[in-house]
Subunit: 355 residues, 2 copies
DNA sequence: CTCGCTTGGTAACGCGCGTTACCAACTCCG
DNA sequence: CGGAGTTGGTAACGCGCGTTACCAAGCGAG
């Protein structure tokens, strides 16, 4: 094999500089090298040899072998995250948040796919296999993240290592979890509408059984009751969680009343439905927010930030949940007690131009 | 520490079953265990002891230690991907495609963040650090992926290992890359419009210097000239690559002509601009696709699939590029020659309802 | 019987590193 | 001057596994 270093071909060999090479180059023992590289407190290495070793590291371009280190030290500095987000990237910011936090903690995040989404799908095995693979890598903790807030059942194997659920909770109630504060989000949304002077507020609801719908609606009810109002059941309509569903629901609610009785604001329980509601409103010659204010939920950037007018909405704190997941895991692996079995994370209001 | 196996706490210990344990349990040597587990051809292990060993593996719940294996065998089965996609997840399907393919090849994908996006950003160091970390894990190959098609400069260190660029190309022209066939995409889009009978086609252009704009426009020109038509420069307007930009551009193009001279179709060079164009069209009381057909580019699901009517668009083959990246890497690490320095991947037309 | 060959294994080394035990040479103090 | 403590290191083991020697028993052929 030629010595050429043609980039991008297998001819480029790993340099393979080991601690032994460094030691020889610096004229010391391998142990000494290990000591200075790991910055041991009670090392007792003279300043002079210390710099000599560091120089050798530089000159040879030594790079520690993480695998060997993990083997010897019995800790890998890895967390694993298994998630269907890889497959359905709606909540990809969870990964981002986790990744960033892990990076800060000088840890690596091993990302493995799952497909729990379709319950007992065709390749249910994938998830178990993924966890198995992660454990083979000797991850020190496991994150389990879902694309939408719901109860899940985590495979048994996950119990071998500290595990934290993100954007979902353990149906068996044994594992700690981190979920959005849907109720608080619903409350803040309706408070915003009330503050803008709206009293008659229509709600475009999701499938009423999912945790998101339950929580957000409850929050809405709370906000209204604090203002001395009640949620008129007639003003709550459900639909498919799509733009079409939102369009249909908005049409129903808008056409049901004469203009003066019409709600002056719509709280759409997700942004996709808000997108459909926009069409229904514009189609009727009404303006946003002039005639009807709209507030969404989820803060799907691609929708909320590009609708015209831009959609005021409540954000799902994906990134924060991811980061908190890693922090919680760090606490667990360090043997610290967890703060709470289920941590709620705020859903902040994002003001744009539709209210 | 109590023996309780409270899940999710540090009390749960790694089981730590090693090959030695398996060997003892099966009454054989560790070597024998290693042989059957790695399915050696010329093993010469009797069928009987083979099953005895397998049983022991089952009973003890033995799980190989990937790190130790990597250390001994001098191969990690890992690829690294460094990408700003973690930060700006527009092209997250690249990761998905790569991950799936890697999974098929029984390899792991180590995902590390980058922020090349902002040229010489505040933490330019992040990228180098990320690559460094990946090399410490002894990845066998490197993928480098961008959120949008452009030239990049990859840090030197990446040369120590086979490297493939995805959705970007090496500004120095040394590394193999995989990019979308923008020109083919532009052609197929305009062909679709021509086929629907449109002759007067407006183009809403991106920033004219980026590769995507150049390629797509060239493709459009090709399609027209094949049909004996020419691209009227007056019908090409540029704008910011946002919904607002698309709205403005569409307004300009629509208001410039009397109805009979107006283009009957708009080719928007990305979906966000198409989203804005929708508004401009509807605002003028025109229907899609009745009065004006619209075709987009990128296939951003959240936009294209939820616009009303659903947007016909050309898809960027993110997933395929990711998969192809891993395949190319596999070929490189196996010492096979690469197929081509720059591989183009088809951008397929996605028919929906706006043409 | 003996030589050579197959079958069914095992002992032992090394991968790169963390860590513990130990050791020689210098102080310092009485 | 002798012993205790400090400074500046080193030898050697083990982490879990792949792999290469090597070896004993059985067996057929000459």
């Amino acid at each position: 094999m030629a010595k050429s270093t043609t980039p991008g071909t297998a001819a480029v060999r790993q340099r393979g500089v080991t601690m032994k090479d460094v030691a020889k180059h610096a004229g010391v023992s391998r142990t000494a090298v290990s000591f200075v590289l790991s910055n041991r407190e009670n090392a007792s290495i003279s300043e002079e040899t210390r710099t000599r070793i560091n120089d050798a590291v530089q000159e040879l371009g030594y790079r520690p072998n993480a695998g060997a280190r993990a083997l010897a030290s019995q800790r890998s500095d890895w967390y694993g995250i298994v998630t269907e987000i890889v497959t359905a990237p709606f909540a990809v910011d969870i990964i981002k948040g986790a990744q960033d936090q892990a990076w800060l903690d000088r840890r690596f995040l091993l990302i493995a796919p799952s497909d729990q989404a379709d319950a007992v799908g065709p390749n249910q095995g994938l998830e178990d296999a993924a966890i198995e693979k992660l454990l083979e890598q000797r991850v020190e903790g496991l994150l389990y993240a879902a694309t939408f807030h719901r109860g899940v059942r985590v495979p048994e194997t996950a119990n071998e290592v500290p595990t934290v659920l993100i954007n979902c909770f353990d149906a068996d109630g044994k594992l700690p979890s981190i979920v959005p504060d849907e109720r608080g989000g619903g409350r803040v949304a309706v408070e915003r509408l009330l503050q803008a002077g709206h009293q008659r507020i229509g709600v475009i609801n999701l499938d009423p059984v999912i945790p998101a719908a339950v929580g957000r609606l409850e929050g809405a009810r709370e906000a209204l009751s604090t203002a001395g109002l009640e949620l008129d059941p007639e003003l709550v309509v459900s639909g498919y969680a799509t733009a079409d569903g939102g369009y249909d629901a908005a049409c129903r609610i808008l056409d049901r009343y004469p203009p003066k009785d019409r709600p002056t604001a719509l709280f759409c329980l997700n942004d996709r439905m808000a997108m459909g509601a926009y069409d229904a409103i514009k189609e009727r010659g009404l303006t946003i927010p002039g005639d009807i204010a709209v507030i969404g939920f989820d803060n799907q950037e691609l929708i909320a930030a590009y609708l015209r007018p831009k959609l005021t909405t409540v954000a799902l704190p994906f990134e924060k949940m991811g980061a908190l997941g890693v922090q919680t895991l760090a606490a667990l692996t360090a043997g610290q007690p967890i703060l709470a079995d289920q941590q709620l994370v705020d859903c902040p209001l994002l003001e744009r131009s539709s209210v």
